[in-house]
């Protein structure tokens, strides 16, 4: 084999590799999480001050457009549905790949759920790994989340799973994602004009319950402590938060317990779950279902966390070089969603 | 037996086996040259040649010859 053939071969393989890479990104199942992550990678480098991590309530409860308008702070969620707790650490690492966040806001509710279920929930593990760009960190994330070693290759090369979505090539929106970077107008937030009236079903809250602690599972606590040690060792600033949802007594205990563990490592825990009345939360207007806020709820939560961040952290907004027009558009989109939630509110029966 | 005599006898065998009075074989004739000479007829041909010359081919020999010339060489060693 002579030199010419060798280089020809290398270039051929490179072209194939690039085409496969782009195809991988295009055929990944479309949806709000893909749009969110593709939007994340489209943001300019060093333009995001705050990164949220956690499960679906993150996208529903916080509007980066509104937050920016109120405080000048840019933020972006790296959240996915039923996000496995083990992935949080890796998503924090992922964020440092393109951004220099001054604060991580970590939603904690998945720590109160069963760890084994999360480890076997391949669909939601994939929702994290199949939305990351190809990189060494992605491989490490897959190794950490996928216990079955023999199946890992279908995660490394997720085109093996999604190639049957080849119809995406006919969708202009998905074609644009060939590099997994398409700007997301709402900066990853989701809005809803639906609401439920849930105040009648709320349990009686005993004053003692505000101090009540119920331990989470030992396995989950291990994961939490591992995350906290990692953050502390690397001096990573983080704020842990519990977003509002329909109140359950044992959850109360879990949230307080998580808060105490978080505090042990010197980190703050903002409990928006236990006393939602503190920021004017209305169980008859602000929830679209038992676990997620709607646009009204997002308005309240975003303002609440804006307040908390301003009071407890000093974020230097001049460090991030965002495009003003982009964020203005995000805010205006939020306003339109809010108006929609007001004028076209859809009542949903709480069963 | 001379080579010419061998070929004379062979022509008779070929004409008989393939039912064609016009066949004339030479050293270069192969199975491609005669229409019905396929793997089935090959054995019949070999059996007929054996009968005509009073010889017996080994399995290696009957599968080994690529043209009539090679077959004649084998016949010569067996007569």
């Amino acid at each position: 084999m002579n030199k010419k053939q060798f280089f020809q071969g290398i270039i051929f393989l490179c072209i194939v590799f690039i085409l496969l890479s782009c195809s991988t990104y295009i055929v990944r199942t479309n949806g709000e999480v893909k749009d969110r992550f593709a939007g994340y990678y489209a943001e300019d480098k060093n333009s995001i001050d705050v990164i949220y991590v956690g499960a679906s309530p993150v996208g529903a409860s916080f509007s980066p457009g509104l937050l920016w308008h109120e405080t000048g702070i840019t933020s972006y969620p790296l959240s996915s549905n039923s996000q496995p707790t083990k992935s949080i650490k890796h998503l924090v690492k992922e964020a440092y790949g393109r951004q220099k966040p001054q604060l991580f806001v970590i939603e904690v509710r998945m720590f109160a759920e069963d760890l084994k279920e999360q480890e076997e929930d391949l669909a939601h593990i994939r929702e994290v790994t199949d939305n990351m760009r190809q990189s060494p960190n992605r491989i490490r994330t897959i190794n950490a989340l996928v216990n079955d070693k023999k199946e890992r290759y279908t995660y490394y090369f997720d085109i093996i799973k999604f190639h049957s979505n080849w119809q995406m090539f006919a969708d202009a929106n998905e074609l644009k994602k060939f590099n997994y970077a398409v700007k997301n107008t709402d900066k990853g937030a989701v809005f809803s004009n639906e609401y439920m009236e849930l105040s009648k079903g709320l349990p009686e809250i005993d004053p003692d319950m505000y101090d009540y602690m119920e331990a989470i599972s030992t396995e989950q606590e291990e994961v939490l402590r591992d995350l906290l040690s990692y953050l502390k060792q690397n001096n990573i600033p983080a704020l842990f938060v519990a977003t509002p949802q329909f109140i359950r007594a044992h959850y109360f205990g879990n949230m307080h317990y998580i808060g105490s563990v978080v505090n042990e490592y010197g980190y703050d825990f903002y409990d928006m779950y236990s006393r939602p009345e503190d920021y004017g939360f209305d169980f008859d207007r602000d929830l679209k279902d038992g676990s997620h806020t709607n646009t009204y709820g997002s308005y309240k939560c975003t303002l609440a966390i804006a307040d908390y961040i301003n009071s407890n952290y000093s974020i230097d907004t001049s460090l991030s070089n965002e495009s003003e027009s982009d964020w203005q558009e995000a805010y205006e989109s939020f306003v339109r969603a809010w108006e929609d939630a007001t004028n076209n509110a859809v009542y949903v029966d709480s069963y | 037996m001379t080579t010419e005599e061998i070929y004379e006898k062979l022509n008779e065998v070929f004409r008989d086996v393939f039912d064609d009075e016009d066949i004339e074989v030479n050293a270069e004739t192969t199975a491609d040259d005669i229409e019905d000479w396929d793997s089935l007829e090959h054995i019949n041909l070999v059996n007929a040649v054996e009968g005509e010359f009073g010889i017996k081919f080994t399995m290696a020999q009957l599968q080994g010859f690529k043209n009539v010339g090679e077959m004649v060489d084998i016949i010569k060693t067996l007569i």
Partner: protein, 507 residues
């Protein structure tokens, strides 16, 4: 570890890399190591005992035959070698496990029972390859090899192990054991052939399988055109599946510089059933001709038979009856090789014999008809009709092969003529197992496949890959990169698709 699986691809990539790094005289040893590794990974360490027993037996018998001059001893050793090998084959393939009173659950059985339940991969193929070697030594058509490692490499050689091609030792030992320097042309041509095999298997065969499975497994729901469609789909499935497997196997060998025998030669271009079987599973046909058919016709019985019959029916008929009888035995064996059930023995056995015999007997009538219609015997029309005839006959035979029983296949085919009409059957948005756009994809892929076959047919001396190789670089790259993307995006593989197991692997 099927040969279209991710891990197998990794296996051959690493293997090929190491192959060209080790000294040339060690390359065949690496093949042996890889073959053993493949067997253990694809099945189990226990299963390798089967081929090991056959290999050792054949090696010793062949060596013994070559060292003695005693004809009786030679025959005895031949018998021993045959009996041991064939007995293992029969034990594994044709005797139901239940006869041993064993539980079907391997996990629950003890070690011995587990051993008895295993069906070693490729037993029919490696047994035949090794027996061929033994016969060659006995008939002095080849030399015995004193190195058992050589025989082991030959017997275990992956990737032939799964479904062939069946190799002939004398033909392959040169290319198998000599060292191979890296050749850019061999390597790329080999890779291209592997890619084509993947296309045939994952893009074509798997799609045809959907349709075939849908129709064959629930033929009560279908009539008329659908039954025909299903049968045609199975024929195409079987063909693309098997030839795809062969292309991958031969392609791997080519990339390593080893020349494997061809197993297919565009069989559906054949004009007669006789010709079909000279172009389909060629190495099996050659093996049977060399080691069964010819020896059979050279036995006393068959050599005397024409003479005995000559008086009663004339010379020509006597010859014919002898040949037909030998063929009947041959075809019964072929049918049985595929499986011990009647639908195998008849479908790809006795029925084929019947087709060939009828074809031969009706040849003069056919010729007269062609003359009567003033058609050209070698003309396009006659040739096309011949090909259609072959396709129809083989589709009927393969339908029997695919069905559970002979009766089942007849019942299914009977529905072609059902009075219930030929209404379309759409179930859950699927027309006979596939969405409408999958049908389009399947037909487009089939068109490409047929085009490639036609081009290959018109350029006998070379290969389509070589023809592409002559084109300008952008054209070549568009073709190969396009084919890669086609297989990756439109192939049926991965989680969510049924496991891609080759049909012939169970044989």
């Amino acid at each position: 570890m099927t040969i279209t699986s991710f891990y197998f691809l990794c296996f051959i990539c690493v293997g090929a890399l190491v192959y060209y790094i080790v000294p040339k005289r060690c390359q065949w040893m690496l093949l042996l190591a890889m073959s053993v590794a493949y067997y253990v990974l694809a099945q189990s360490a226990v299963a390798i005992v089967y081929p090991a027993v056959t290999i050792i037996t054949i090696y010793l018998c062949a060596l013994g035959i070559s060292k003695t001059d005693n004809k009786k001893k030679k025959k005895l050793l031949l018998y021993i070698g045959c009996i041991v090998s064939v007995a293992l084959l029969i034990l594994v393939k044709y005797i139901p496990r239940s006869l041993f009173g064993l539980s079907e659950d391997v996990a629950q059985s003890g070690a011995f029972s587990a051993f008895m339940i295993i069906v070693p991969i490729g037993i029919s193929f490696y047994t035949f390859s090794l027996l061929g070697y033994l016969f060659d030594v006995y008939y002095e058509m080849g030399e015995a090899d004193t190195n058992i490692a050589h025989i082991a490499t030959f017997g275990l050689l992956f990737p032939n192990m799964t479904s062939g091609p069946i190799m002939r030792y004398t033909d392959i030992k040169g290319t198998l054991f000599e060292g191979h320097k890296f050749s850019y042309e061999n390597f790329t041509r080999g890779c291209q052939r592997i890619l084509w095999g993947f296309f045939e298997k994952l893009v074509l065969a798997e799609r045809f399988a959907r349709v075939a499975n849908e129709i064959f497994d629930s033929y009560d729901n279908y009539n008329g055109l659908y039954i025909i469609l299903g049968m045609c789909a199975f024929t195409l499935q079987l063909y693309t599946d098997f030839t795809g497997c062969m292309d991958i196997v031969i392609g791997i060998a080519e990339a390593l510089g080893i020349k494997m025998p061809e197993n297919f030669k565009r069989p559906f271009m054949s004009l007669t059933i006789q010709e079909f079987w000279q172009r389909w599973h060629i190495t099996l046909g050659t093996w049977l001709k060399n080691y069964l058919f010819y020896p059979l016709l050279r036995t006393e019985f068959f050599m005397k038979l024409p003479k005995t019959l000559k008086e009663k029916v004339g010379k020509k008929a006597a010859k014919r009856i002898t040949t037909y009888l030998a063929m009947l035995i041959l075809w019964t064996v072929i049918g049985t090789w595929h499986g011990g059930a009647w639908h195998y023995i008849i479908g790809v056995g006795i029925l084929q014999w019947l087709f060939i015999v009828l074809e031969e007997m009706m040849e003069p009538a056919g010729d007269r008809l062609v003359d009567l219609l003033k058609l050209k015997k070698d003309g396009a029309l006659v040739r096309t009709l011949g090909r259609i005839k072959v396709f129809i006959l083989m589709t009927v035979a393969f339908a029997m092969f695919r069905s559970l029983t002979v009766m089942d296949s007849l019942k299914m085919m009977g529905r072609i003529f059902s009075k219930e009409g030929w209404k379309p059957v759409i179930c859950e948005g699927l027309l006979a197992g596939l969405e409408w756009y999958e049908w389009v994809l399947m037909l487009v892929a089939l068109m490409i496949f047929i085009t490639v076959q036609v081009i290959a047919d018109k350029n006998e001396g070379t290969t389509v890959r070589a023809l592409i190789g002559k084109r300008a670089l952008p054209v070549r790259w568009i073709i190969w990169i396009g084919l890669i993307m086609w297989v990756v995006l439109l192939g049926f593989y991965g989680p969510g698709f049924s496991a891609a197991e080759f049909i012939y692997q169970g044989f």
